[in-house]
């Protein structure tokens, strides 16, 4: 790879005195250390695809651009590096948009490169012209429209810098075809390092420590920002000493291992009852890298109403956005946590109470009947899986069951579409995660509704022999919507019945993927064993009872104190 031998690549560069814009893009990606990109070709991006063969970039041809964006997103979550996706103008670009939005809402570093019609016809409704630069604006951290080929190295370096610095996010680069084809003297490569995040102020940290010392019933509230800031280890060490009962959001799961002493589960709508009670009773809430999302807080006015709040976050715009904060610590989350040197807090009665609540409201895996009980399946699966287990989820009841019942020993073990809640994420995310870390035991957990949103990616799995394991929970329904109709719309079941699903195992086999179906409880052990020991791609089609619901649950608009149970 040329990047590993800068002298030689320098020679090559001077030898070829001029290059096309597209060649500069390929080179710039290599200079950024990119080795894998996900994409789909088409008219205006053809110059890029012309420059691709022979480069060190490995291109994964997906079968829908949305999957390229989701795969790049998961690749980024799994590696901490920016994921790269590429599409043509018009429909290719609009197909990327959902995936870009997904990365935006979950603060994932991503570079999306789109072809654009030639500059001379931009603004004339040319064939496949769409103003993706304008369309994407609300869902990107930043965007560039390249007007000069010689600026390509700098713009790409800057895009990576923006995507990965501070609070990460997606950056769009729109590349008109004429710019990509233009021959220009090769400019020098540009490398920009991630901009350092502002250090937290000593005074803020001191205030946080003071407030924590007064706490009798503190709770540590862990969000997705902790892992994104590389602060997981620091937080674990800090809390090993402080001993504060901790809860996590959907994207904060795994920062503290699921079974660890100080961890009390997920908070929020489908959180654990213990976690929600603890937060509601807390007198000091130490919030790390979280943004008070409504799925976590329930009715905001009544959320942890008696707590004084300490908020650590690298993004000052999140401070006091939704909940008034008593002590704000904007700046590097990792630095803030490292400096938050708290002695063991004198909160033994509270810790005892917390453990009692956890015991009292522990999930029950006994279910009536002889069908497969998905929570029990998932609990077993993650317990039996090796320590490099990674779950990538789709959206629905099955997603909530994964969050509730799987054990995670690190945040990268749970890849889920949190902020956007995008059905269709699961399989492309599994592809991205498996390609990022081929030795990991990556399992996609999907539903019969969600799987159909990117089922074509089975072809991608087949083509590249990606050893992804897929568990498809088939309740013949858009289960989560069905559950809401049952509980909050007087059982007026409307357009949620998927009674005529295809035979999913046959579908998988038609794509050349090993598959099997189970429907009885006594088949679960065998199914898990087969999944775990299969090396290549494999799909387990698991039929479950359509009437099963996700419990407990905070009804929409209600306080987290008002959890419904089955």
């Amino acid at each position: 790879m040329s990047a590993s031998n800068p002298d030689q690549s320098e020679k090559e560069r001077t030898a070829t005195s001029s290059q096309t814009g597209a060649q500069l893009v390929v080179k710039a990606l290599q200079d950024q250390g990119v080795d894998l990109v996900f994409g789909y070709p088409g008219g205006t991006i053809m110059p890029f695809y012309d420059a691709l063969p022979g480069s060190s970039l490995r291109h994964i041809l997906v079968r829908h651009e949305q999957a390229a964006a989701f795969a790049a997103d998961a690749y980024a979550r799994a590696t901490g590096k920016a994921g790269v996706c590429i599409a043509t103008s018009g429909p290719g670009a609009t197909n990327l948009l959902t995936g870009i939005a997904n990365a935006f809402l979950d603060s994932v570093p991503m570079i999306a490169i789109t072809g654009q019609v030639p500059t001379a016809v931009m603004g004339t409704d040319a064939f496949q012209e769409i103003d993706i630069f304008g369309m994407a604006m609300p869902v990107v951290k930043h965007s560039f429209l390249i007007r000069k080929a010689e600026e390509i190295p700098y713009i790409i370096a800057r895009a990576f810098q923006i995507a990965t610095s501070g609070r990460p996010g997606p950056v769009l680069i729109d590349l008109p075809k004429d710019i990509a084809q233009m021959q220009v003297p090769a400019p020098a490569p540009a490398i920009l390092h991630p901009a350092p995040t502002r250090q937290p102020a000593m005074a803020d940290i001191a205030d946080a420590i003071e407030l924590l010392k007064t706490a009798k019933q503190p709770v540590l509230y862990i969000g997705g920002g902790v892992a994104k800031s590389g602060a997981s280890k620091a937080l674990r060490s800090m809390n090993e000493i402080a001993g504060i009962p901790a809860v996590a959001t959907l994207t904060g799961l795994g920062v503290l291992p699921t079974g660890s002493e100080n961890f009390f589960g997920m908070l929020g709508m489908h959180g654990s009852k213990a976690a929600n009670i603890l937060v509601q009773k807390s007198d000091v809430l130490l919030v790390c890298g979280a943004r008070f999302d409504d799925r976590a807080t329930g009715k905001l006015d009544s959320f942890a109403a008696d707590a004084r709040v300490i908020h650590l976050d690298c993004d000052p715009a999140e401070i006091s956005k939704l909940r008034h904060v008593d002590v704000a610590v904007p700046g590097s989350l990792k630095a803030a946590i490292e400096q938050l040197k708290v002695q063991k807090l004198n909160i033994e009665p509270w810790r005892k109470q917390a453990k009692e609540l956890r015991r009292q409201f522990a999930f029950d895996y006994h279910a009536p009947g002889s069908g497969v009980f998905a929570p029990a399946f998932l609990e077993k699966l993650s317990r039996r899986a090796p320590s490099n287990f990674v779950a990538t989820c789709d959206v629905g009841q099955h997603q909530m069951w994964v969050a509730q019942h799987c054990s995670f020993n690190r945040p990268e073990a749970h890849l889920t579409s949190g902020g956007l809640g995008a059905m269709g994420y699961g399989i492309p995310a599994g592809i991205g995660a498996k390609l990022a870390n081929p030795k990991d035991c990556v399992v996609t957990i999907t539903g019969d509704g969600s799987v159909m949103m990117n089922i074509q990616e089975l072809a991608t799995i087949r083509r590249y022999g990606i050893g992804l394991k897929i568990v498809l929970f088939d309740n013949s329904a858009l289960g989560l919507v069905r559950q809401w109709q049952e509980l909050f719309y007087e059982q007026n079941f409307s357009e949620v019945d998927l009674y005529d699903n295809p035979d999913f195992a046959s579908v998988a086999r038609a794509f050349g993927i090993e598959a099997f179906t189970v429907s009885r409880r006594e088949q679960v052990d065998g199914a898990i064993e087969r999944l775990l020991k299969t090396n290549g791609p494999v799909l387990a089609h698991v039929r479950i009872d359509p009437r099963e619901n996700v419990w407990p649950l905070v009804p929409p608009g209600k306080s987290n104190a008002e959890m419904m149970e089955s």
């Binding site: 930043h142 965007s143 000052p316 401070i319 704000a328």
Partner: protein
């Protein structure tokens, strides 16, 4: 609801103005007046009068949301924001 003035100093890259106005609209404000004085090549300044579309909007939050956009140098308001908040951020 009260009209508030914002002055945003930014670098005039392609799309910068829609990026700014789009954010202001999306975050729950109506833009009442716009003034874009002639300025130098690398610095522009956008003066806008805005009104929140509902009472829950906090101009300090908007100010920080604009400030984090790439290419924005400074955001000034005519309204004094809550003192403690200004200190914290």
């Amino acid at each position: 609801m009260q009209t508030q003035m914002l002055t945003i100093e930014f670098s005039p890259e392609e799309g910068a103005i829609i990026r700014l106005l789009g954010l202001v609209e999306r975050r729950g404000y109506e833009v009442k007046t716009i003034n874009l004085p002639l300025t130098s090549k690398n610095n522009s300044s956008l003066d806008i009068a805005i009104i929140a579309r509902d009472a829950s909007r906090d101009i300090g939050v908007l100010q920080r949301q604009i400030s984090r956009l790439i290419g924005v140098q400074r955001v000034l308001t005519n309204i004094k924001t809550n003192e403690t908040e200004a200190q914290n951020v």
